[in-house]
Point group: C2
Chain length 325, copies 2
């Protein structure tokens, strides 16, 4: 089968579309014939050798897939061969023609849901709904999303708007956003001041932060009393800043939180399954998941590069059976 | 009028029951003829000269009172002379026969509510309900309270039990607790292990921490994924520990939060008023506020000493008109 293969930690020269043997499902696992696989920044982190992403080399990246259940391992209930399913393949392997997934992280796709859209649920949309829940933001709250152009950022902004949040300020390098109803601002070294200005001079009930480094350090000041800053990534590649002292948290009545769906999948997979199921249920209640941009095998490495450079806008999936583009 | 007076930052020798002139209410303030005034650890911090508690010397401590509205300043709506009211006197002055309060932090007492009980609402019970809300703990959650013998700790444990929390593990030096339905444990250097053991081997959705220092540092490990540790005091007088790194928060999917009703009163008094009102409303719905222990003027300094030493159990109020005990 074809798969995107990373030979060893390094640059783009380590990437190739390789022919390899399809894996076989073990106990509590399923084999999925992949139709669509989401591209994510975690693929880039794996290729760069960041700790906790690749469990060995060569490594096939790809953490979210939609396709057909091809085979079922022992002790798997509730899934049958031939049905469509999405899976969070948190050990990678998704950017391939066949992928192994834990059954607990595999959910059936309802007939009404398109497979390409569904492929963006297990990591991207599940992360977004997990972030909204973690923030406990409610009706009338205000939120700042510091990186609103990527897949998670756009999903997050959409869910927040749907959640009754009064104002979502969405930052990006270009100051543009694809999500209706959000207030776009430019992300530069004046981000916090720009964000507060865009929020009519008010600080925020929730800040969703995935850039890290200086951005993470500065947006702490964007929190209103009672607010929470959730760090869920460090895309800039800078070291984390010093966290605020407990005294500061008390004096400002604020909280800082960390969110990693990858860590969650390893320690409490049932909680991640619940996030995936929740998104699927929301699609039956009117949540519209945008059609992702599709790339074929021939465009995959270029898209991975765009992801790496932070210029991949919106959500992109590999269409396994697409004709060469 | 009589008042507990602290002449300057220092030890018990700085305390006296002094005769002084009753204050006059300014704009947006009321004068309250105090019937009962709560004793709190903030009185001790003020006397020790901790920053942010006393705004000048000599200083009259006391942050929560119940009594009769004696006079009303300009621009005060919704309160009338002669009615019973509670107030959060966050600039101190409560342990006196008359106290000035901001009108926004003064709430009428319903007929059904006893003044001695009501005197424990503005700081103690308002803090407790603020902590419960900040934690976002819900039905079926589990909570650890690291200091369950003081006024806030007992109020917190009661509210958590009322809130549908499955298990409240309540730590104290002696390993006893006055709150029905909680699981008492001893607070020593094995606190976190004891707490998890008392919670059937599970970590907690919320940890409420007011001891600080080593206790604050160690109880971070008591958090379950998705859990929050709220620091709301540092009674041990130790420096705050280093907060966890953002990487740790992400990897463990946990949050740390700070809560200070004093800071909240200064920056968002309407939010504190809402907490006070919420507790008053809950008493009409069956919340039972325990009768506080009452001391007279002659016992006040001894009780302040007990508070300072951490041996004042439960909630104590000054009964202004009590006969000498």
């Amino acid at each position: 089968m074809r798969a995107l293969m990373i030979s060893e930690p390094g640059g783009l020269e380590t990437l190739s579309i390789a022919a390899t043997t399809p894996p076989r499902p073990g106990r509590c696992q399923v084999l999925i014939r992949v139709e669509f696989a989401g591209l994510n920044f975690t693929d880039v982190l794996a290729r760069r050798g960041a700790p906790g992403y690749a469990d060995g080399w060569p490594f096939v990246p790809g953490m979210e897939v939609a396709g057909i259940v091809e085979a079922i391992g022992e002790e798997v209930d509730g899934l049958r061969v031939g049905e469509r399913a999405v899976a969070f393949t948190y050990n990678g392997g998704g950017l391939a023609e066949y992928a192994i997934a834990d059954a607990v992280l595999t959910c059936s796709i309802p007939d009404e849901l398109d497979s390409a859209q569904a492929a963006t649920i297990p990591l991207t949309w599940a992360t977004a709904i997990g972030l909204v829940r973690r923030s406990h933001i409610g009706d009338g709250g205000t939120a700042l999303v510091t990186s609103a152009t990527g897949g998670v950022g756009q999903a997050l902004a959409s869910l927040l708007a749907r959640h009754g949040v009064t104002r979502v300020v969405a930052a990006s390098r270009a100051g543009k956003t694809a999500v209706a109803g959000t207030v776009p601002i430019v992300r530069d070294d004046r981000l916090t001041a720009r964000a507060i200005e865009a929020n009519e001079g008010q600080r925020f009930d929730a800040v969703f932060e995935s850039i890290g480094g200086d951005t993470l350090a500065s947006t702490l000041d964007a929190l209103a009393p009672g607010g929470v800053l959730i760090s869920y990534g460090a895309a800039a590649g800078q070291p984390d800043p010093e966290p605020p002292r407990y005294r500061t948290l008390r004096g400002q009545n604020v909280a800082i939180s960390g969110f990693s769906i990858l860590a969650m999948a390893r320690t409490e997979p049932a909680a991640v399954r619940d996030l995936i199921s929740s998104v699927i249920r929301l699609t039956a209640k009117g949540l519209v998941i945008p059609d992702p941009h599709q790339v074929s095998w021939s465009g995959l490495i270029a898209s991975h590069l765009d992801q790496s450079e932070g210029v991949l806008r919106g959500k992109t999936v590999l269409a396994v059976k697409a004709h060469a583009s």
